[in-house]
């Protein structure tokens, strides 16, 4: 299939360019690792009444939250790359060729998915010496859930980028959208500690469902309903948002 081949082609190109900038990749890991080392210990203190008596418990609660935060913001900033490719005329050069239009977006989005999953693997490895313990099968499922989540946040970022077409507005919007979503998903401190009205509001936040699913996986409860609920919500929204991005991407072009 043309779409599959072309998506792979664009993915390879984008990933190849990313690998040529290893310093950038390393720096993007600095923040999550800082949180991992300096924030998780706080969590142990805060959660001590809720069953987090050891570091292992704290990391089992915090690492999935960190995955969601990274997946959310990593994806939300992907629009910058698209805008700079548009501005540099790269997209235009591709559009004159018979390459699949869908592939031009999907290949780029999948590069961000891949990058985020690799970062998640690094985070997992760093957390192991601190006492994180998680079942391999559950871990792999959580990576898959993360992948779908990144696809969603990336395509949301593409939607915004294609609508505003300007880096400054994109930055403002992404921060405005990202902050409440991440807080209302309980990525830093689990929602069980939140007042009731925040917990109710969080029911409307798809990323809160995904965070709960992710935490259930790390807690070894792969059969909990919230796991498949979170996955289903993420998948449905990612598909809808990608569909819309590709609509926005293709308008004004024959």
């Amino acid at each position: 299939m043309r779409v599959v081949r072309d998506t792979w082609l664009i993915f390879q190109q984008e990933a190849g360019l990313m690998v040529r900038n290893p310093v950038m990749v390393a720096f993007s890991l600095a923040q999550p690792i800082t949180y991992l080392v300096l924030f998780a210990p706080f969590l142990k203190v805060v959660m001590v009444d809720r069953g987090a008596s050891t570091y292992a418990d704290a990391y089992r609660i915090y690492v999935p939250g960190l995955f969601v935060a990274m997946g959310l913001f990593g994806g939300l900033f992907a629009g910058y790359g698209l805008l700079s490719a548009l501005r540099a005329g790269i997209i235009e050069r591709c559009r004159v060729t018979p390459v699949s239009r869908t592939a031009l977006l999907l290949g780029r989005a999948l590069m961000h998915v891949c990058l985020n999953v690799v970062q998640a693997v690094v985070i997992t490895l760093v957390a192991l010496p601190f006492g994180l313990r998680v079942h391999l099968a559950n871990l792999l499922v959580s990576y898959a859930l993360l992948a779908v989540m990144v696809l969603l946040s990336t395509s949301i970022s593409y939607d915004i980028a294609l609508l505003v077409r300007n880096e400054n507005s994109l930055g403002v919007l992404v921060n405005t959208v990202g902050q409440p979503i991440s807080l209302l998903a309980g990525v830093l401190i689990p929602l069980v500690l939140a007042p009731m009205w925040i917990q109710r509001a969080a029911l409307w936040n798809p990323f809160a469902w995904a965070t709960d699913g992710m935490r259930a996986l790390f807690a070894g409860q792969i059969l909990q309903t919230v796991v498949w609920q979170g996955a289903l919500i993420m998948t449905g929204l990612a598909a809808a948002s990608l569909f819309w991005s590709s609509h926005l991407f293709n308008r004004e072009v024959s």
Partner: protein, 325 residues
């Protein structure tokens, strides 16, 4: 190979009360035959890029029709893409990539297998003399090297029709001459070439035929020599810039314009950039008369120059403005 009729494009701009439309291209007709090099010559904002981008399937025309290499542009843009190459006005390369990587990607986007793409890239690197820097980051290339890469990318799949948007803008004279050679070589390889330029000499020496475009309309069309023949006679240019700078009250240019515009031996006159351009039947007989008329009025001319008409004179005659300003 290219046939366009009534091609139009208007853009909606602004929102709310400031909204309006920009008529970028107001209906252009032209035809390009197989193996020709045809140029669009026009000033900034004339609609050259917009026309090219419509033909290259990047913009949907607001009206009109076109066929390219026998394929209908509006009905089968995907088919058109197989047959054309396009080099945009601003280059579209990744700063962190290399010429070789981008060339391979380009060939692969045209559906070539990995092996074939590698061979095509190697051949393009040789043909466009990119060897010295093909594996260096593109951000380190000079303007001329970048432009050669742009053209190499556009032709990697040996298209039947090639669109070049200002292929030599911003290049120094040696690089421009080299680019002209490349373009002629492409034509020898069997491509039909449609380019835009705002350089007179480029239109003159590179193009078999030229369409002069201004404000979205084609105002003249033909071979460079036929276009210039329309302006029969000679051009006499009298420069007042230096004299008027020394004595701003002297007003040499307006005074001379008044005197000479009405003279019987002058067929037309236009002030351009501190100089007065006169169109006369023969410079040899007109110059003595011009000099006498100026001295009688006490007007001190600066340098006087005579030459054969250029495409700029054609443009001036059609639009009342000069391209060189």
């Amino acid at each position: 190979m290219i046939e366009a009729t009534g091609l139009r494009k208007s853009f909606r701009v602004g929102r709310g009360r400031g909204a309006g439309t920009v008529e970028a291209v107001r209906g252009v007709d032209f035809a390009v035959r197989r193996g020709e090099i045809v140029g669009f010559l026009g000033p900034n904002g004339a609609g050259k890029s917009t026309t090219l981008r419509m033909l290259a399937t990047l913009l949907r025309p607001s009206g009109g029709a076109a066929t390219i290499a026998g394929v209908d542009l509006l009905r089968s843009p995907a088919q058109v893409r197989h047959r054309i190459g396009f080099v945009a006005q601003a280059s579209g390369t990744y700063d962190d990539s290399t010429a070789r990587r981008d060339l391979i990607l380009q060939a692969r986007m045209h559906g070539r297998s990995k092996g074939v793409a590698q061979e095509l890239a190697a051949a393009a690197i040789r043909a466009f003399q990119l060897d010295d820097f093909a594996d260096r980051r593109i951000r380190t290339y000079s303007g001329g090297q970048r432009r050669r890469l742009d053209v190499a990318l556009g032709v990697i799949h040996s298209p039947q029709v090639m669109f070049l948007d200002e292929p030599t803008a911003g290049l120094d004279p040696p690089s421009r001459a080299r680019m002209w050679q490349e373009v002629r070589r492409l034509r020898e390889d069997g491509m039909t070439i449609f380019l835009t330029t705002h350089y007179l000499d480029e239109a003159d020496s590179l193009c078999d035929r030229v369409s002069i475009i201004d404000a979205g309309r084609i105002v003249a069309e033909g071979t460079p020599s036929a276009l210039k023949r329309e302006i029969s006679g000679d051009v006499v240019a009298i420069d007042f810039a230096a004299a008027d700078l020394a004595d701003p009250a002297g007003g040499g240019l307006p005074a001379a314009t008044k005197v000479l515009a009405e003279a019987p031996y002058v067929r037309g006159s236009e002030p351009v950039d501190g100089a007065l351009r006169l169109y006369v039947d023969s410079a040899a007989t007109a110059i003595p008369q011009i000099m006498r008329a100026l001295y009688d009025r006490g007007i001190e001319p600066g340098a006087i120059e005579t030459r054969r008409p250029s495409l700029d004179d054609v443009f001036l005659a059609k639009t009342g403005r000069s391209l060189e300003e």
